[in-house]
Structures are given as structure tokens and as C-alpha cells.
Symmetry: C2
Subunit: 295 residues, 2 copies
């Protein structure tokens, strides 16, 4: 069998794996994200050790953003403007090529996750959005089977939403926009506004309704723009399972019956779902990118 390498490059950890999208990971390692030199030294060591499984035909990278995703651009594979110290301008693909010169491809972690969820959904799935709600809010989009790229990649975590009345007076935590969606609803905003992370808030806390409202506004916007056949909600905050039913109900309310295919509760249960991949979707997506790169 053909072995591929997958790297899910995140702001707090790098997950490395060898295996394939079809078989899953044969070995993985989780490496804390430090500076690029220290981090890539450990990534290189992982792939050196993993050579036991056979030569790696290609490597796919599912990266935190913003990152250059256009193979025709000099930015391809480079981390762009980021508040993360030491990483701006880092050429991820060149760092990998320095220890393993095989075909490579890179996309955002969320575009890669969207690719993996399209594959998991089966052959009729052409249009899908993958949303992660954690330290930030990331959105990956696949249209007609391809990850969406244009001037950069989707950044729909930063859309403007309407302030929930129970959330007045909270300035928001986004360094660029203050109270955009990420500034109101990502992990740091939740802790800052309510004094504790989502996992520690009681079931009857007003937080749940506020959070569901913001994420429903995102779902509404996605349905009205990309018309996705499925919105997959993942990430740390979404581990609170009570959120998904609240988001489905609120999205239906907001759409007001306008989108014919999203009118009833049964439709919403098919349209807004947790991840279907058993391994992290971003890692599976990195294997898919590796397969595409290796041809």
C-alpha cells in the first residue's frame, strides 16, 4: 500500500501522521507548537522514525491561517500576517522539503477538513462548509468538490453578526474587528464575556442561547451564500453537544422558511451536523491533500 504523510499544523499543536485517508493513521505524534525551528525539528524526527512503515509518497499539510494556498503565488505554503510570534513568513513547505523532498500540497486546516467531510459524505456531496469553533472560528468551504480559494481562502469566522440582547456591553476580543463573530463567540470571547469556558457553564446559563444565536447567524449566511448541502460543526466549543440542536432551531427561525430545502426540522438535522470522520477531519484532509499531490 502507498503511505502518505499528513501534518495538521495548528497554533497550539502540530499533529503528524503516516498512513492514508483510506486506512487512517498508522502512527501519529502530537508536537506542541513552539518556534518554527524547534517545531520542525520534532516534525522531521517523527518522519525519520516513521520510515519503518515505508517511504512516504506525498505530504499534505492542513495549516492554521492565514496561509498562502495558491500554488501559482510566491506566498504558496507560507504563513501570512499572524499574531503568533515567529511564524509570520514561515515557509512551511520549504521547512518540510528540507528533510523530506516528496510531492506536497497545503491548504487551510478547515478547507482540508471540509474535503475530508465531503469524502465521508459520499459521492453526491458537492457543496459543504466545515466550521470549527475553538480558540478561533474557522470556516472551510468546498464547492463542486474543490476547496474554495480566491483572494486568499475563506475567513468566515470574521463575518459581522448582530449582537444578542443578552450580550450588550461586551466589546469582543478580535484584534482586527472587535465584535465580529470570532470576537463574540470563539473560546477566548466566551471566557472573557462569561468568566468561564463553555465546558464549565451550567445548562441553564444564558450563554448557550447567545452562542447558538451567533453560530446560527453564521449558518444562515453560509446557506445564503454557498448553499452548502451540509454544514459540519467541529472544534472544542462544539464538544458541548447541547449546542447543535439549539443552532439548528435558531437557524431555521432566522431563515424564516425562505430556503426551501432548509424549511423543516428534519432537513435541519441533515444539514447541520457534527463531523463524520472518526479521526480529526483536518488530519484526514491532509492525507487527501497528500494523495492529490502524489498523483
Amino acid at each position: 500500500m502507498t503511505i502518505h504523510g499528513a501534518i495538521e499544523a495548528g497554533g497550539t499543536k502540530f499533529v503528524c501522521a503516516v498512513g492514508s485517508a483510506a486506512t487512517g493513521s498508522l502512527r501519529t505524534a502530537t508536537i506542541p507548537t513552539r518556534d518554527p525551528d524547534a517545531t520542525f525539528a520534532e516534525v522531521a524526527a517523527f518522519f525519520r522514525d516513521a520510515a519503518d512503515f515505508g517511504p512516504v509518497a506525498g505530504i499534505g499539510v492542513a495549516s492554521f491561517g492565514p496561509v498562502g494556498v495558491d500554488p501559482a503565488s510566491p506566498d504558496y505554503g507560507k504563513i501570512l500576517a499572524t499574531p503568533k510570534p515567529g511564524w509570520e513568513g514561515t515557509d512551511l513547505l520549504a521547512r518540510i522539503r528540507a528533510f523530506l523532498d516528496v510531492p506536497m500540497a497545503i491548504d487551510t486546516d478547515v478547507n482540508a477538513a471540509a474535503l475530508a467531510e465531503v469524502r465521508a459524505a459520499g459521492p453526491d456531496m458537492r457543496q459543504l462548509a466545515y466550521v470549527t469553533v475553538g480558540t478561533g472560528i474557522g470556516v472551510g468551504l468546498v464547492s463542486e468538490g474543490s476547496p474554495v480559494h480566491g483572494i486568499g481562502h475563506p475567513e468566515a469566522g470574521h463575518i459581522l453578526v448582530r449582537r444578542h440582547p443578552a450580550h450588550e456591553g461586551f466589546a469582543g476580543t478580535c484584534p482586527f474587528h472587535g465584535d465580529c463573530l470570532e470576537g463574540l463567540a470563539a473560546g477566548p470571547a466566551v471566557s472573557s464575556a462569561w468568566g468561564a469556558p463553555a465546558s464549565e457553564l451550567a445548562a441553564d446559563h444564558p450563554f448557550w442561547e447567545v452562542e447558538a444565536d451567533y453560530l446560527a447567524q453564521l449558518c444562515m449566511t453560509l446557506f445564503l451564500t454557498m448553499a452548502p448541502q451540509r454544514i459540519v460543526l467541529g472544534g472544542g466549543v462544539m464538544k458541548q453537544e447541547r449546542l447543535i440542536p439549539l443552532i439548528r432551531a435558531r437557524t431555521a427561525d432566522l431563515l424564516g422558511g425562505y430556503v426551501q430545502a432548509a424549511r423543516d426540522e428534519a432537513a435541519m438535522e441533515r444539514l447541520i451536523v457534527p463531523p463524520a470522520c472518526t479521526e480529526p477531519s483536518g488530519l484526514v484532509g491532509a492525507f487527501l491533500l497528500a494523495e492529490q499531490a502524489a498523483g
Copy 2:
């Protein structure tokens, strides 16, 4: 040369043409939209008379929505839930086939316009949004060269926007959502909120700033979701040329430097533009749909 037929089917008028995307229209006719029987009788008469130019190889229809755009669905070519009396459920393609049985394709007027603008922009344009601001606000999207379809077609005229402070107390005119973008910024909303259409409001009227803010929120949302390389702004309200510079400036403000490729004024001038097609973009798009259908 191969002759195609094009129909831009609108809520107030049907524009019919024979010609091709490359040569433009050889003959056109504008037919007021009445009930389906009366309207299609005139459409049939146009194509009968236009047979002088030679046989039509295919017909493309750029239609008002919502309309079935998935060729695999039984809804394909049919007008869906519409407030327009007599039109809900009308099978546009069957009505045409009754007088001219040639290959046909249909999409929304705005998706067709987006296709036409992609062609006008040249081979590097893969990701484009076409926005029309008139009686309604319509948005067509092309991703990787194909019109975006999923659960239906894009309906981004109905996204939620934040109310402009100078517009407090206005309930909005959208029958589905009240104060969604269309309910606040389309032609009927402008007349209702300010007492006159955009064309009659003075250059220093507060309307201009409010309208530019709403349309800039749409542009921001489009950049953050589909990452279009170009947003084309067309339609009746956009004929007021002072709007585009206001929208560019406000979009840049709202993005706050977050989207690297949309940071400066020069970038905004390339990214947010009026239509490049000399004939109406929707009609040119209908010719392109006809070409695709005829193969």
C-alpha cells in the same frame, strides 16, 4: 456561425435575444412580464420571427428566482415559491420546449451574469460574485469557473446586516425577514425609508452613506466566505455612480486590514467594480448557458 437563443426572464420584463456570447445579440425584444401564458406567447412569437437569422442551436435562460437549477432534480427549470402571482410552479423550460425543442439550460439571472463577467474578465478569473441592487438584491457566484449550486442557489441578498444608526426605526420591507439586507437596501426599501428612489435623492442626503454601509457589509461577507477575486455591482440602484467609491471605502474600513489582498485603495478599485459586459450581463450569461447546453 452558430446562432443561440437567450432569455433573461425577470419579474417585470423578459428580454429575448438571438446571437451568441461572442458576437452579441443580433436581435432582441423586451416583453413585459404578465401571466405565464401571455408572456410565453410573445416569447414564442419572437423566436418564430427571429428564425430569419437561421436555426437556434440552443437556448439559455437567466431567470428570476427562486428557480430549480439542479438538472438532476424534478424542480429543474421551475419557478419555486414566489410572491409573483401565477408564476409559482411554472416550468420555464417546458414552456419553451413547447415551441422550440432544442438543448436548453437555465440558471439564476445573477449566476448567469456572474458567468458572463468571469468570461469578460479573462482566463485568470476563477472566483467572482455578481450583485444586482434593484427591486431586490440578487447575488450570483462562480467558483472555479462554475456557477454555485447546492441546496438551491445563492440568495445572499437576504443576509443579516447591522442596522446603520441613521436608519433606526425602519422595519424593513422583506416579507420573509423584515430587515435583512434586501429589506433595508433594495429599491422598495429605499423608497419606503427615504420617501423617494435613489435616483431622486440629493448628493448630500444621508441615504448614500447608509446604503453604502449595507452594501459594504455584503461585500465584506462575500470576501470572507467565497474570497472572490472580483465583486461586480450592477442593477438599477448601482446606476448612481457615486455609490461605488463609498462602498469600496466602507468595505476596506470594515475588513480592518484583515484580508491581505484587499488592504489598500488600489486593491479595492480592482476588486469592487461595475459590470464589464456591454450588453446586460445576465443576457450574455444566457448565451453562455445556451452554448454549454448545445455542446
